[in-house]
């Protein structure tokens, strides 16, 4: 599995994390290209079925990025995301998927470097645990 490159689906909120990812790009920060960004209006827009669908279709990891608590453009969307992700993590654990595969991070528009670190870290951790077992079943 040395040449395994994890595929990470990243649902990023338009107002904070996507802008943070943009900042990482325009600042020419170098980081792992494994995350496929999907822009959403709010991390609260990320329905649990998007995340489960991503895993079912073979994603090795899913990153949900939203604004820091208190900073949500829609006031409280990210609080709902937090509860959703916690419930989903419980579910994924029961379904035999490693917890590291789903990650929720608060990354603001000015935190390009944090975005880089989160993606790099996620790639390292998922490389350790290997490809998604759901992908291998196919």
């Amino acid at each position: 599995m040395e040449d395994f490159e994890p595929k990470i689906i990243a649902f990023l909120c338009k107002w904070c994390t996507y802008a943070g990812a943009d900042l990482a790009g325009v600042s020419r920060l170098k980081f792992s290209p494994n995350a496929v960004p999907i822009k959403v209006m709010c991390s609260g827009r990320v329905d649990p079925s998007f995340i489960l669908d991503a895993f079912a279709k073979g994603a090795d990891g899913v990153l949900v990025g939203g604004c820091h608590p208190g900073d949500c453009h829609y006031a409280q969307g990210n609080y709902k995301t937090l509860r959703r992700v916690k419930l989903l993590k419980m579910l994924l654990k029961d379904m035999g998927l490693e917890e590291e595969r789903l990650r929720l991070e608060w990354i603001s528009a000015s935190e390009g470097n944090k975005f880089r670190e989160v993606v790099n870290d996620m790639v390292v951790k998922i490389k350790e645990i290997g490809p998604s077992p759901l992908k291998m079943e196919e």
Binding site: P48, S49, L52, R83, M90, D94, M95
Partner: protein, 323 residues
């Protein structure tokens, strides 16, 4: 007018769907007046050989209940598909996997270990396990193969219509029979039940949802007038199709989701997680840190059994990953 030919079959199921057919009571006589029953294992002795000899498409409508657990279930699903003009997934097992599909949290080996060795009442010192084929002096004998994963009917053959429920309620069954006998049918692939969520027909008083904490059913005596969710008891109503006549709700028990997802939804459990997370402790969400949220959601002791009691086989993930 010539009579329609219908058939019933059971795969991995409890037998409740057979009783559901009879729950329409004397109306079964109207059905028999308009239709010949060619096969019905619970009531008639039809041999598989006779079924195989039938011409293709000679059954007008086949009502297939039960999930696909063994190679026999799958083989019969394929034969009945060939012999039937319309194949109907009857009941939650054929529709979404239902209770048999909760076995997808295990695999064949774990299930056999438990059933044939570990159960407290089992004595099996010779470690006898079911084998698909076995040599005896008369020759080789066979039993169906037991699969690792339970599937829904439409995961092995093409299905024309679905009748939901565990089991389907008499009103739903009667309406479906009338539709088939009259030839008055919706587009292929339809679920023959209303499209709205159960909350829509629920008579309980609802307020703006704010759940402070979660109770299991035995932990709290529910007020029969008020919405279960408002009382902190998980009710699958928001993520479940209506049409059952809210019988459980009338019995002061929350919905567990047997009518399955509403149309446009792919995964019933995901929708319930979404709905629940949105209202859980919403009144003081600003002060909840991660730890408190974890504490709160950990009150759900069995996430899969709560959110996917009837729909695990048809969910996105479908089964537990067992290494």
């Amino acid at each position: 007018m010539s009579k329609a030919n219908i058939a019933f079959y059971w795969a991995a199921s409890c037998g409740g769907c057979e009783i559901a057919v009879l729950d329409i009571n004397e109306k079964i006589l109207d059905v028999i007046e308009k239709a010949n029953i060619l096969m019905w294992p619970v009531a008639m002795d039809t041999k598989y050989e006779d079924l195989k000899k039938m011409k293709d498409k000679s059954i007008d409508v086949c009502f297939f209940n039960g999930a696909i657990r063994t190679s026999e279930n799958e083989e019969l699903a394929k034969i009945l598909r060939k012999k039937s003009k319309l194949l109907v997934a009857f009941g939650s097992c054929a529709h979404e996997g239902c209770i048999p599909a909760l076995a997808n949290l295990f695999n064949k080996k774990l299930i056999f270990d438990r059933a044939y060795q570990e159960t407290e009442t089992t004595v099996n010192s010779e470690n006898t396990l079911p084998l698909p084929s076995f040599e005896v002096k008369e020759g080789e004998i066979h039993i169906p193969e037991f699969y690792d994963t339970v599937k829904t009917l439409d995961q092995v053959v093409d299905v024309d219509y679905y009748i939901p429920g565990c089991p389907p309620t008499p009103n739903i069954v009667e309406e479906a029979f009338n539709k088939f006998l009259a030839g008055d049918l919706p587009p292929k692939g339809a679920v023959l039940a209303p499209v709205k969520a159960l909350c829509d027909e629920c008579p309980r008083k609802k307020k703006d949802k704010m759940i402070e904490t979660i109770y299991r059913v035995y932990e709290k005596e529910a007020d029969p007038e008020k919405c279960f969710l408002d009382q902190g008891i998980i009710c699958m109503g928001p993520a479940t199709r209506s049409g059952c006549g809210h019988q459980c709700i009338k019995g002061n028990m929350p919905c567990t989701g047997c009518f399955g997802k509403t149309p446009e939804v792919t995964d019933q459990g995901a929708k319930m997680i979404s709905a629940l997370a949105s209202v859980l402790a919403v009144e003081n969400e600003l002060t909840l840190d991660e730890k408190k949220v974890e504490e709160l959601v950990s009150k759900i002791k069995d996430p899969v059994g709560t959110f996917y009691r009837y729909s695990l086989a048809s969910s996105f993930i479908k089964r537990k990953v067992i290494k």
